[in-house]
Subunit: 282 residues, 2 copies
């Protein structure tokens, strides 16, 4: 039966994925599965996968690669024991020849033995850390989507993948900017430190009040606009590459993993149980 | 003309690579190019490259991927402006069908349009940081090679690549172990935090006095054996995969890059010059 967001607030990651997989929940995942890494998802035919991995490796801030499946295998065993990438994301966007085609709640019918799934870290992780540190984030307090902008920064191309870096903006009190940088830098799997703080024009943003994606957010007096590399960057690169078929998560509707947000590496330990493996999880 | 190690002690990274490329230096790179990331090198035919990247992504502690070339392109432009991977490593080990074949100083004759080069971070980086923190490392003070052991920890397989994790051991004073962990954890591009500290048997090491690679090092009274994931791990995985042709650096003879050791990401900024790009380098 349908499950509400509030009913899932305290669900663990296995329960969350079960509700999504069962078709009982198709909403956004912000604030759910607290303490665990959530991921952007990009799925494509294997012949493009090597260049896409190169693109992620060369652009680690917008594209922090946290998992990759085997060819045709919908499991992502390094991110969760029971993940099925065909069903465990609340909503998927389907692109054909680089054009948005439709949104689906399940991609089992589109999955094939040729598909490879990628998971990339997302900003929820450092936002949770900033909130824990008592730093207010306007878009969360006002229940809007963070403003995102196409910057003038070119990413490093790989094969058909290229384009400008998309950045998200959060207005931070002047005296907190250094602290915000130090905190978010601890999360390289979630875009890491800001790429810019201050004059939006320096990174090619003309009008801070008119984001290219998401909702406008004010930069109040005494606040500085702080910009982070954004997970929309690889989606734009994938659209520009005009892949015959590409499937991504619907923005805000992420894959919830079993990786702790503060894990040093985004890999579940092997199914053994030594001190070492516990250490690997730390 | 031949150049000695001492003559290169203060050379910058461009001068270092020029001496190596010109055939004037073929020695080890430990202690050279201080402050800049050095890298393990693995070169293979492209048809194996996607699985090797998967292997690195799933085993980031032994295989911290810091760079990957385009197919057939010997440059590694994200790691250095002038790198030619065919000539810029002091010595290469050549493997044919998984067997060591020969050592070469230049692989131009073996390079082909089908080759892909990978660079992986190495332990020199965190060793420099430990030394800067005043922590003595026996193998360096005694000019020996760090002891390395085949552990009982299985890596996460990808395609033909699998095997046990190889670990390096450094004996650390008991009261310094936590500090050593905190310092090395800051260098995820260089194996990061230790994977184990204490009883070697817990990770399958029977005799700490008899390393599988490198030289023995004592664990003196009041010291704890501390183990880090080691860059020999991917070399073993590549040997076991029995690739028809695979080329690696000769141990200790690394690729010297232009990436600062404390860089957040192993990518040179695009050739522009904004605050943002300087920030990216920080």
């Amino acid at each position: 039966m349908p499950t509400t967001y509030d009913q899932l607030r305290n669900a663990d990651t296995t329960q969350l994925r079960a509700a999504i997989r069962g078709g009982d929940y198709a909403g956004h995942t912000a604030g759910l599965g607290r303490g665990f890494l959530q991921a952007n998802v990009v799925i494509m035919p294997e012949r493009f996968a090597l260049d896409f991995m190169r693109y992620c490796q060369r652009n680690p801030r917008p594209c922090p690669l946290t998992g990759v499946s085997d060819k045709g295998d919908p499991r992502m065993t390094t991110l969760g024991r029971d993940i099925d990438i065909r069903t465990d994301v609340p909503a998927y966007n389907i692109y054909r020849d680089g054009q948005f085609s439709e949104t689906r709640r399940d991609i089992s019918a589109l999955w094939s033995d040729d598909m490879v799934a990628f998971a990339l870290g997302c900003s929820f992780t450092f936002e949770h850390a900033l909130q824990r540190a008592g730093i207010a984030l306007w878009h969360i307090d006002n229940n809007t989507t963070v403003p995102m902008f196409r910057s003038s920064l070119e990413t490093v191309a790989a094969g058909p993948f290229s384009g400008r870096m998309v950045v998200s903006m959060r207005a931070i009190p002047e005296n907190q900017v250094k602290r915000v940088r130090d905190i978010s830098r601890r999360y390289p799997l979630a875009h890491g430190a800001p790429i810019h703080a201050g004059d939006p024009a320096e990174i090619g943003i003309r009008d801070i009040a008119r984001p290219d994606w998401g909702d406008p957010a004010p930069v109040e007096p005494g606040h500085v606009p702080v910009f982070w590399a954004c997970g929309v960057t690889p989606q734009v690169a994938v659209e520009q590459a005009r892949l015959p078929l590409c499937m991504t998560h619907k923005p805000g509707h992420m894959l919830v993993t079993d990786i702790a947000e503060d894990a040093e590496v985004p890999v579940l330990p092997p199914l053994t149980n030594t001190e070492t493996n516990r250490e690997i999880m730390r």
